[in-house]
């Protein structure tokens, strides 16, 4: 799961990542690689630290220990212009899309182009409408406010915003949560199509196995702060790992004991 055959470093390389909140250890020496052009899906139960992992990579949370390298460059502790430069490689689809309420849809999609790349507003609007079309939304949607959109449309706009800046790496935070199965599958198809067209590396977190099977090249399971199993998506049904088996079949009985009350 690490370096490609040509010796190029992984797009994302994480080693020994530790993150705690008070006494609660969330990430406990996590190791993970994402190769160039690879789509990795991290699965795991609620509260196991999947979102924390993404936030640590994005620099929104600072880990206590460990290394995160993007294209071989250490990014833990990066600030100012260096961080902005690295952040321009990323696109992110948030769980609830996190659209800016105060801006119309087209300006949400064009935000990274206008603010991050200094693109002219008219040109950015044309670009945003193209991206909206790429996720199956018409130009008229661009004039709406995010509050006027359904859950599925919000996800599509979030995806359009994530791909608008032509990122090298895209993160998907529970892309199908809260959607009906059909709309979930539409979003999965859009993710696969957009990622293929961009040639981006992606890291997704989900507990929707249908979504994981559709968008992943490789699946990694997070449990107790560590990746306890990682392998090609085709092997997930034959992982020989009791934790993975219990999770993918959604069984209450097994080695994973759900916490029913706070410690």
């Amino acid at each position: 799961m690490s370096e490609k055959a040509n010796g190029a470093p992984p797009k994302i390389q994480i080693r020994g990542l530790h993150k705690s909140f008070g006494p609660k250890v969330v990430l406990d020496g996590l190791d993970l690689d994402v190769a160039v052009g690879e789509s990795v899906v991290v699965i795991g139960g609620s509260g196991t630290g999947k979102s924390v992992l993404l936030k640590c990579i994005l620099g929104l949370l600072r880990p206590e220990a460990g290394s995160i390298k993007i294209d071989g460059e250490e990014v833990v502790g990066l600030r100012g212009g260096d961080r902005d430069r690295v952040m321009r490689k990323f696109g992110m689809l948030f769980q609830n899309a996190a659209l800016f309420d105060s801006l119309p849809v087209w300006e949400n999609v064009a935000f990274g182009l206008i603010q991050g790349e200094g693109m002219d507003r008219d040109e950015a609007k044309k670009n945003a409408i193209e991206k909206l079309a790429a996720v199956g939304l018409g130009a008229e949607v661009g004039e709406l406010s995010p509050a006027e959109l359904s859950g599925g449309m919000r996800k599509r706009v979030g995806l359009a915003r994530a791909i608008a800046i032509t990122p090298e790496i895209i993160f998907f935070d529970e892309p199908t949560t809260g959607l009906d199965p059909i709309m979930g599958d539409v979003i999965n198809d859009l993710i696969v199509k957009c990622v293929r067209e961009l040639g981006a590396s992606t890291l997704s977190i989900t507990h929707d196995m249908a979504s994981a099977r559709k968008i992943a090249h490789r699946v990694a399971m997070l449990y107790h702060g560590k990746i306890i199993w990682a392998g090609p998506v085709a092997q997930i049904d034959n992982s020989a790992n009791d934790y993975v088996d219990q999770f993918i079949h959604g069984r209450a009985e097994g080695p994973i004991q759900m916490q029913v009350r706070a410690d």
Partner: protein, 257 residues
């Protein structure tokens, strides 16, 4: 000793909060003077803070000026000192009541709205989204509000001063029977540049405090709707208290001899 522990703990919490606020203010102010500046956002905030606060601040000022003239008359008439009413009205409005009442009204209207807006952005991950789009939230959210607060409140207070003095004039002329020319002459003769300037300096400081408290509490809100509600309350209460405290120190700075 056990009795000292809660005192020490409270002091540590206080100093930690003061430190966090100071760091936040320093970070916000540093982005106010470092390009790029978002002029479109600054203009929008100036309209929100200044233009949309004008009705409420104007009403507060005019009724305060009217009440001030009426109350001064009932007191000063006992000593046959009614001629001092224009002086009392203009000094009270420009030095104290204009900036303080405008500050408190704006804290209630704008500070609460800022905390609620930024707090909602925090709990719905919109601030994280800004970060991932390589846009510094301090530069995009905090700096425009601070700049707008510092520059707009003095303009608002200057208008409130005029409206407040006009309120006193209306009551004095139409209810108390003053001569309009004499009233205006007394007002203009008595007011000094320092009176107006001290009020405008206060307004700039209050504008900074209101926007700082709105941004700080909103930015650090957590826990969903309840957290946003708490942030809104904290923003208004802390801004109001700071306005009243700072008002004393600025007054002392200008007028204590």
């Amino acid at each position: 000793m056990p009795i000292l522990q809660p005192i020490g703990r409270t002091l540590l919490i206080f100093f930690a909060a003061a430190g966090r606020l100071s760091m936040f203010a320093a970070n916000g102010l540093s982005h106010c003077v470092r390009p790029p500046l978002y002029f479109r956002l600054i203009a929008r905030q100036m309209i929100d803070i200044g233009y949309y606060s004008l009705p409420v601040v104007g009403l507060t000022a005019i009724f305060t000026g009217m009440v001030l003239a009426l109350q001064s008359y009932t007191g000063f008439a006992r000593f046959a000192a009614e001629s001092a009413i224009p002086n009392v009205v203009v000094i009270s409005i420009t030095r104290e009541l204009g900036p303080v009442l405008a500050g408190l009204m704006v804290a209630g209207r704008v500070g609460a709205a800022m905390a609620a807006e930024i707090g909602t952005m925090r709990v719905t991950e919109q601030i994280d989204a800004l970060d991932t789009l390589a846009t510094n939230p301090f530069k995009y959210l905090v700096a425009p509000r601070l700049i707008a607060g510092i520059t707009t409140l003095p303009i608002l207070v200057f208008i409130a001063d005029i409206i407040g003095v006009f309120g006193g004039y209306v009551v004095s002329i139409y209810k108390l029977g003053f001569n309009p020319t004499t009233y205006l002459k007394n007002t203009v003769d008595f007011v000094q540049t320092e009176d107006v300037v001290s009020g405008l300096v206060k307004a700039a400081v209050f504008g900074f405090l209101i926007t700082l408290m709105g941004c700080y509490h909103g930015y650090n809100s957590k826990g969903g709707a309840q957290g946003v509600g708490a942030a809104t309350t904290n923003a208004v209460v802390s801004a109001s208290i700071l306005i009243l405290c700072c008002n004393y120190f600025i007054t002392e700075m200008f007028f204590a001899r």
